[in-house]
Structures are given as C-alpha cells and as structure tokens.
C-alpha cells in the first residue's frame, strides 16, 4: 500500500494514514467456502486425470463422513439459535443509535441488566487491549429478553448473547451468512458469540470469556 502523503497538513496526512490502515483491514474478506470449492473443482480437479479421481474419492469420502456425522451426531446448536444470533448481531452493528449502555467498564454493564433480566449473565471478562468491551444491550433472543455484550476487535464488532435456553447442550461452531458463531452452555444458560472476525480471534475471545 502506498503511504498516503499530504504536504498540506500533518493532521490530514494522519487522517489519511488512519483511514488507509482501516481500509487495509477492511478490504480483506475471505471468499465463501462454497466459492473456493467451486473454483477448485472447476480449475484444479480437471488438470490431471488422477486429480479427478482423487477429487471424486475425496468428495465421496467427505459425503460419507458427512452422512455419518449427520446420523450419529445430534447437532448441538440449533439452526434457529444461530439464525437468531446472527440476526441480533446484525441489528447491533447496523443500529444508528449507540448501545443501551456504552462503556468499557464491565462493572457498569453487568449491573445495568439487573431488573431487566430474570437471570445474571455469567460474564466476567472485562475486556483488554485486544478485545475492547464497548458495552451492553438488552436483546430479544428467541422471544425472551437476553443480554448482549459487545466487544471490539480492531474494526470488527463481536456480540456475545447470553440467553435463557436449555436447548444448547454442547459447544459448537457454525458459519452462517458469512458470520462465525460459537455456541456453548454455561450455568444453565446459552451463550452465542457472533462476529465476522476470523475463527482464531473468535476462539481467543471465547477462551477469555470461559476462563
């Protein structure tokens, strides 16, 4: 990236530099897995006959494994929960208004939910330099009031929904509409972490929330 240079005003140059850094982060967007698979099938699998056979074998093995997984393993995260989490996350990131409680102090966010929820969210991660707590919001999750904690990772917003639902039994990772979602249960409550950050970052935050 060419370094933005302005010989007019150092503050303008600094603004350019900040915008360029934000853009460099923003422009990176992983291609959907479906697209990558289509491209690989179309342009790699046809290069050599043995690759075609290998691809067919891999596809067959993959399908068989998927069938076995589908039959044997009960999905831990219901698709409805994932859809709800992604939908609520989108509402938070696109809302024209600030969060209900906008502060980086968890000790202000948690008490704010008192009287607004009929449970106490088991969240103790106060945020750090890598995952800054932005605040909290009262969400409606599957028709019931839920807590939303909002963290920031560079330009990415990460929402943590804490909701009263017994359906979540085990941890699961799902990608829906391009958003990564991690769902787990804690203290009899459901937890859903949603963002467009990469899996590594999302798992890192999950680990800090669960520690």
């Amino acid at each position: 990236m060419s370094e933005p240079v302005s010989d007019l005003d150092p503050n303008v140059a600094e603004a350019d530099r900040l915008i360029a850094a934000a853009l460099a982060d923003h422009v990176r967007m992983p291609a959907p897995r479906r697209l990558r698979e289509q491209l690989a099938r179309r342009h790699l699998a046809t290069q050599k006959p043995w690759r075609s056979w290998f691809a067919a074998f891999a596809l067959g093995a993959g399908m068989a494994a998927a069938i076995v997984l589908f039959v044997v393993r009960q999905p831990a995260a219901d698709a409805v929960i994932v859809d709800e989490a992604v939908g609520d996350h989108l509402r938070i990131v696109s809302a024209p208004h600030p969060l209900d409680v906008e502060t980086n102090d968890l000790h202000n966010v948690k008490p704010w939910f008192t009287g607004r929820l009929d449970f106490v969210p088991p969240v103790s991660f106060v945020g750090d330099d890598e995952f800054r707590l932005r605040g909290g919001e009262l969400a409606v999750f599957l028709g019931h009031k839920a807590a939303a904690f909002v963290y920031q990772r560079r330009l990415h917003t990460i929402s943590l929904f804490v909701f009263a639902d017994q359906a979540v039994k085990a941890r699961d990772e799902i990608t829906s509409r391009g958003f990564h979602v991690i769902v787990w249960a804690a203290g009899g409550l459901g937890m859903a972490l949603v963002s467009d950050v990469n899996w590594d970052d999302l798992r890192l935050l999950e680990a800090r929330l669960r520690s």
Binding site: N11, L23, V27, M29, R42, V93, S94, R132, L155
Partner: protein, 199 residues
C-alpha cells in the same frame, strides 16, 4: 476504454483447461491462492455477494482459459485483478448499471478540513459500517483504485491494472482519500471514550 471482449461461457473455458499441460496446473494453483483478495475487492465493488462471486468465477474462467497468454515473469496477481476489473465492467454493462466516470480534471479538497486531535481520535475508533458507507460513496473507479491501494499494490501496479497513467492513479488516489476524509469526518463512535450514564 477496455473490455469490449464478450465473456465466454464458463463451461467452454473449463473444457479447454482440460487439455492444458501441467505448467498451467501449477499456475492455476498459484492463481487460486488469490481468491480471497479478489473476492474482497469484488465484494466492495458489487452490491451483492452473489454478484461478487459471479465476477470472481468469471475472472478465473477468463484467466485460466487464457493463461497461455501470460508471459513468464508477468505479475500474475496484477493480471488477475485486471481481469476482475474487466469482468466487473462487463457485468455492469449486462445489468445496465451506469458506472460513474471520475473527472480527473477536478482538484482535491483544500487542506483546511478541521482534523484536530479529537477528530483524529474518532478515526481510531472507526466503525466498520461507517467505513463501508464511506467507501460506497466513491465512484467505482475511485473505489477500485483506493481498494487496490489497500490491497498493497504500488501506484505503478495500479496504473497497469487500471490501464491508466501513473499520474492519473496518483491524482485519483488523492481525490479518493479526500472524499473518504470528508465522508468519515465525525463518523467515529469514540467507543470506550464515551460513557452514557453510570448505570
């Protein structure tokens, strides 16, 4: 202007690829390594993810269909982005979308824009949605150039991809940055700095 070439059906291109010798195979692997970058750019140019996927598909179909034309030592990455640009313009034509023509004769904004320390601090807390909106206000050609710059291309490479003079790239980049500054001034949320009530 470029891109008068009619896009060939993907299936035809893919069939031809079958007969290619092995070197094309390794080039295809190298080319596919840029899928994320191409999609990232396409997604910011197109209004829907489906359109973005279409032009990336078409880019690879054209690129790998004509990979024999790529001379050894050429910049594969830049070549792919040039094809992506062509595909984007062809798609716009098919959809009868009028692409704004940027006026290279118009100068950039004056320097006095009021970027004080507070305004700069807001930029540090810039929300992705605000940045997205600001980029969306740019004419396509300026958007394309500023996004190529964000992808790490040099001005000379951008000139090669956009098929214009290096001086034109420089002036367009300058105007794109001025527009982004104008669109983003006061956009930062200042999250973490501002507290709404000690509740």
């Amino acid at each position: 202007m470029l891109l008068s070439r009619k896009p060939r059906p993907l299936a035809v291109v893919a069939d031809r690829a079958d007969d290619r010798p092995d070197p094309a195979g390794s080039l295809a692997e190298q080319a596919l390594a840029h899928a994320d970058e191409l999609y990232g750019l396409a997604r910011h140019l197109c209004s829907t993810s489906s359109d973005a996927e279409d032009i990336v598909q078409e880019t690879y179909a054209r690129a790998l269909g004509g990979i024999a034309r790529l001379t050894p030592g050429s910049n594969l990455r830049a070549w792919l982005f040039r094809i992506l640009r062509n595909c984007f313009i062809d798609q716009a034509r098919r959809k009868k979308i009028v692409l704004e023509i940027s006026d290279d004769t118009v100068g950039e904004r004056p320097a006095n824009e009021g970027w004080d320390a507070a305004a700069l601090d807001q930029l540090r807390y810039l929300a992705a949605a605000d940045l997205e909106r600001a980029v969306g206000t740019l004419p396509h050609e300026l958007r394309f150039i500023v996004l190529l710059d964000a992808q790490g291309f040099s001005e000379a490479e951008i000139a090669e991809i956009a098929r214009c003079a290096a001086g034109t790239v420089k002036s367009r980049l300058s105007r794109a940055r001025a527009r982004l500054r104008a669109a983003l001034q006061g956009s930062g949320r200042g999250a973490g700095k501002r507290e709404r009530g000690n509740v």
